[in-house]
Point group: C2
Chain length 181, copies 2
């Protein structure tokens, strides 16, 4: 599965990064992420240094890149809108459920199309450019074709156009904003 790990986000879907430390788990939406190499399967993503997810990632060196499906548009927008420092238990408030990952000590989001369990492999570039390089240690999807590409016709992913707009399955959708408490 790791041999084809880059194919899980080669087509540019929005992702949700989960992280966790002794204070709990957090999630943030990350559209600015891409593969960097196939062997080893590495990814680069742009992450704000002030974010709670940055803090947890730097503390533990582990994260899961969750690739949500089109059916999770509202939850994904909510994760991209709510702030982890202001909303304790942001993951569940956004409507996601968590489940254990296979290898890393960070939970993954239930119901996603694919998951990349990763370890941080390069800190200097993160400090200098905000570019985080992650290496996949485990990858999983239940929706692969024989050639390792995602079956997005049956299980469409979300592509963030900007603001509240996403493309999915040939349509442009605008999920509702999360409700205030």
């Amino acid at each position: 599965m790791l041999a084809y790990a880059t194919r899980l986000l080669n087509h540019g879907p929005v992702t949700v990064l989960t992280t966790a430390d002794e204070h709990g788990a957090n999630a943030c939406a990350v559209a600015w992420v891409m593969p960097l190499s196939k062997g080893p399967a590495r990814f680069v993503l742009s992450l704000g240094r002030g974010h709670l997810s940055w803090e947890k990632l730097m503390a533990t060196g582990e994260a899961v890149i969750n690739i949500p499906g089109a059916h999770q548009a509202a939850e994904t927008l909510a994760v991209g809108t709510l702030k982890g420092r202001e909303v304790p238990d942001k993951i569940h408030v956004a409507g996601f459920a968590t489940e254990p990952a296979a290898v890393v000590a960070v939970p993954r989001l239930a119901g996603c199309v694919a998951w990349l369990e990763c370890r941080l492999v390069e800190r200097a570039l993160a400090e200098a450019h905000g570019l985080v390089i992650l290496e996949a240690v485990h990858a999983h999807s239940a929706h692969l074709r024989d050639d390792g590409t995602l079956d997005v016709a049956a299980h469409p992913t979300l592509h963030h156009l900007g603001g509240r707009r996403f493309a999915a399955d040939g349509e442009v959708i605008t999920p509702p904003l999360p409700e205030p408490d």
Copy 2:
């Protein structure tokens, strides 16, 4: 337009990078590209150091990130398959036509959904990691909504799943390979 430049590829479409030096123009398909900052509008892409496009980009410091539409799937696959060092005039052999860009001295590909005319702003990262950082000096699309997002419902882009497979407009397509001479 530059204020919304990152929105032209925020949703993860495959791109075609055009470059040109005194020996002529070249094009290569680049799926591993993402926005890096909104102000200034910068992008980071992964480009092989042995490629002819790398040579031309480093020589002139200019490139155009062309965002092809779903109607250009065969041309895009051809550009990603043919090698510029082996096929003189690769751009036209692949089926693309060129036209002048607005600001840079590199041609853009006719009929694309959007174009980002760019200058290279960071060489050290390119040498160390193969990560090229480009800054947009001009951006254009005739298919924008009021909020600067691309109207992909009317003008779908291509999303490279791997191998010959692309997602476009909610379908998975497999364009034909370029014909041998």
